[in-house]
């Protein structure tokens, strides 16, 4: 219903002279690129103003952001390395969103996934690297999957709001991680930064040949494409979207909503858990508090900016990976605090949500309530 009006308004308002059939067909898709793009530009403009108030030149800011994110091959590699976990943590929010659930606990699933993967690697010391790596992937995915499935189960069987429970579980996961790396799993040799023992250089997953970008990027791309196919080209995905659109209708046609919620939440969590495994097996080599770097939280923003579409998550994750990759350069060249990336992310998030009002109508003519 809304899509139809969206298309006609778009067709009438934006380019009346163009071929109406084209806009009828693609009007909504154009909107999905145009409006988030405009929101992004608006957010960058506001951030530039903020930086100007801080006494820095916004043009320098934009230049260094571009340069630090996409300016050189080195910065591209940095960007892509950061995009890998972002794709996966964004899927942790985007998959449950198909069911109308707002899960924001990707950070917790990432930490639990990292812990599970590290435990698997430490338990299998001495086995062939491929065995260890496979076990790490499986353990990471199961650990993260169960963590988010817990939120899903609480929502389905106890009526506990999944947004709040998944966020509380982030803090609980962080406490478990700190407890284990400072206690039972601590490597006695790690003095300044309590950590687990290393998983071993042979078991690291390494880089894509010819680059410094680790294989985690490929994991992320495969997961995003698989999620896209699952959501839009399978019966299961269709059922999930029906349940997300109208839960009563889903029950009437006999869909098992509980099973859908549990499966989707498990898959979502296993994506974030995989991100944790990658951070261990490709970057850190061990588990410690460094893993709580905020990828889970940025992933929420990626998912919303991509309008919960698994394929759109890929470019958006690269974009936001680029923003965080440029953070170091902003600190060095402009003397901005490291939190400037967080501020920009927050502003983008606010703009993206506010721009939701623009879909299907140009101007804020009608109020919601």
């Amino acid at each position: 219903m809304t899509t139809e009006t969206a298309e006609s308004v778009e067709a009438a308002g934006v380019a009346p002279a163009a071929d109406p059939g084209f806009l009828q067909r693609y009007g909504a898709s154009i909107e999905y690129i145009l409006i988030p793009g405009a929101a992004l530009i608006g957010a960058l403009a506001v951030f530039g103003g903020f930086i100007a108030l801080y006494g820095k030149n916004p043009l320098d800011l934009y230049f260094y952001m571009y340069y630090g994110a996409f300016g050189t091959w080195f910065s591209w590699q940095n960007t892509l390395t950061r995009a890998a976990p972002l794709i996966l943590t964004a899927l942790c929010t985007a998959l449950p969103a198909q069911l109308g659930m707002v899960i924001i606990g990707g950070e917790g699933a990432l930490l639990i996934g990292a812990l599970s993967a590290t435990s698997a690697a430490l338990a299998l010391q001495g086995a062939a690297p491929i065995v260890v790596q496979t076990a790490m992937v499986i353990a990471g995915m199961i650990g993260g999957g169960l963590w988010i499935a817990l939120s899903g189960g609480l929502r389905q069987y106890r009526g506990v709001n999944e947004t709040i429970s998944s966020l509380l579980l982030v803090y609980i996961a962080l406490a478990i991680l700190n407890h284990l790396v400072e206690g039972p799993m601590r490597d006695p040799a790690s003095l300044n930064k309590p950590s687990t023992r290393e998983i071993g250089a042979a078991n690291m997953i390494g880089s894509i040949p010819g680059t410094d970008v680790h294989w985690g990027l490929v994991f992320g791309l495969v997961a995003a494409v698989a999620a896209y196919i699952l959501v839009y080209h399978t019966t299961f995905g269709f059922a999930a979207r029906v349940a997300g659109g109208n839960i009563r209708a889903a029950k009437i046609v006999g869909l098992s909503v509980g099973k859908l919620i549990m499966t989707v939440c498990f898959l979502a969590g296993s994506c974030a858990g995989l991100a944790g495994m990658i951070e261990v097996a490709a970057v850190q080599g061990r588990t410690n508090a460094n893993l709580a770097a905020g990828y889970g939280f940025t992933g929420i923003l990626v998912a919303f900016l991509a309008r919960q579409n698994p394929l759109a998550i890929i470019p958006v994750a690269i974009l936001l990976g680029g923003i965080s990759a440029s953070g170091g350069l902003l600190q060095r060249r402009l003397g901005l605090p490291d939190a400037s990336v967080l501020v920009l992310q927050g502003i983008i998030f606010v703009f993206v949500l506010a721009s939701d009002a623009l879909y299907g109508r140009i101007g804020f003519l009608k109020g919601k309530s």
């Binding site: 707002v102 924001i104 609480l154 389905q156 069987y157 106890r158 009526g159 506990v160 709001n161 947004t163 709040i164 429970s165 966020l167 509380l168 579980l169 982030v170 803090y171 609980i172 962080l174 406490a175 478990i176 700190n178 407890h179 400072e182 206690g183 939280f297 929420i300 923003l301 919303f304 605090p337 490291d338 939190a339 400037s340 990336v341 967080l342 501020v343 920009l344 992310q345 927050g346 502003i347 998030f349 606010v350 993206v352 949500l353 506010a354 939701d356 009002a357 879909y359 109508r361 804020f364 009608k366 109020g367 919601k368 309530s369």
Partner: protein, 308 residues
């Protein structure tokens, strides 16, 4: 000397003192969120508001030398964040939960950004009233050093309870929360009511933040708040949107949060991080026990998106 005779009694005493000290931010945020949620909207961004409040209170107290000006600045910052939340939510088809998440990230980021130069300096802190003057046990005296903000919070709870029941404003807020249509039919703007309710909620949450930086722990750093804001939002659900229950629940949560440091003080350090997670585990446990998939919660405002 008194130390030795107390022995393990230090733990309940420290938990009691901690309940009073640690509960204050919980109390302010939950009372603020209570007002906002009663008007039919949920503001998950109070976590960010709390951190922003803590930062601005510390900054203003440092610059002006007056901690009370800092408290006021924290409240105003909170109200502005509330206005931002309500403003975006009043646009059509915008989800209030998502806006809350965005403001949570924005508030924390902005506070870290602006608060960078505040990590080093020491600001004037809020005074405490010594209620333990009659005792010569140092632990008891420490537990009874109570901050004025706590007393204000304790006073606000029954005031709100009364205001919700008997005043015109209370009725308007409840009407907006129970049935937006009814409020509109009475000729009131639901958006305006919710804007005010969210601003007042943000004001209180900001003050809760000022307590963190100006009294306990009493300094500004980036690890100051880790989820107190979001715990307080969950606490409102558990307290059934009743300000008096918010007060008792905040005290219970403060006690739970003080458990880790209390055990550490008597030498039990092994599960330190797990004890620190006690408030979150407690919140989750309570939500599991009190929620039910079959019925909406009693006392839940009907317009609230979080109760479906």
């Amino acid at each position: 000397m008194a130390d030795a005779s107390l022995g393990l009694w230090t733990v309940p005493l420290a938990v009691f003192g901690g309940a009073i000290r640690v509960s204050t931010p919980f109390l302010f945020v939950s009372l603020g969120e209570c007002i906002t949620e009663r008007s039919g909207r949920i503001n998950l961004g109070l976590e960010g508001t709390l951190v922003m409040g803590a930062m601005s209170a510390y900054g203003i107290s440092y610059l002006s030398g007056s901690p009370w000006l800092g408290v006021l600045a924290a409240g105003i910052t909170g109200a502005l964040f509330g206005a931002l939340h309500a403003g975006i939510c009043s646009l059509p088809r915008v989800n209030d939960i998502a806006v809350g998440i965005a403001l949570m990230l924005l508030g924390t980021g902005l506070a870290f950004f602006l608060g960078k130069p505040l990590i080093e300096p020491t600001a004037a802190r809020l005074p405490a009233i010594d209620f333990g003057w009659w005792s010569d046990i140092p632990q008891l005296r420490a537990a009874l050093r109570i901050n004025v903000l706590f007393l204000i919070g304790v006073a606000i709870a029954p005031l709100l309870y009364w205001a919700f029941r008997t005043t015109r404003w209370g009725l308007l807020i409840r009407t907006a929360g129970e049935s937006a249509d009814a409020a509109r039919a009475m000729g009131h703007s639901v958006l305006l009511i919710r804007l005010r309710a969210t601003m007042v909620g943000g004001f209180l949450a900001g003050i809760g933040g000022s307590f963190l930086s100006l009294f306990y722990p009493g300094s500004w750093n980036e690890g100051l708040s880790s989820g107190q804001g979001i715990t307080a939002v969950a606490l409102v659900i558990f307290a059934r949107w009743d300000p008096m229950l918010c007060l008792w629940a905040s005290l219970a949560f403060g006690g739970a949060a003080a458990l880790g440091p209390a055990l550490q003080s008597v030498g039990i350090t092994s599960g330190y991080h797990l004890f620190n997670a006690a408030p979150y585990i407690l919140t989750l446990a309570i939500m599991i026990i009190t929620c039910s998939p079959k019925r909406t919660l009693t006392g839940a405002p009907a317009e609230l998106s979080i109760t479906r």
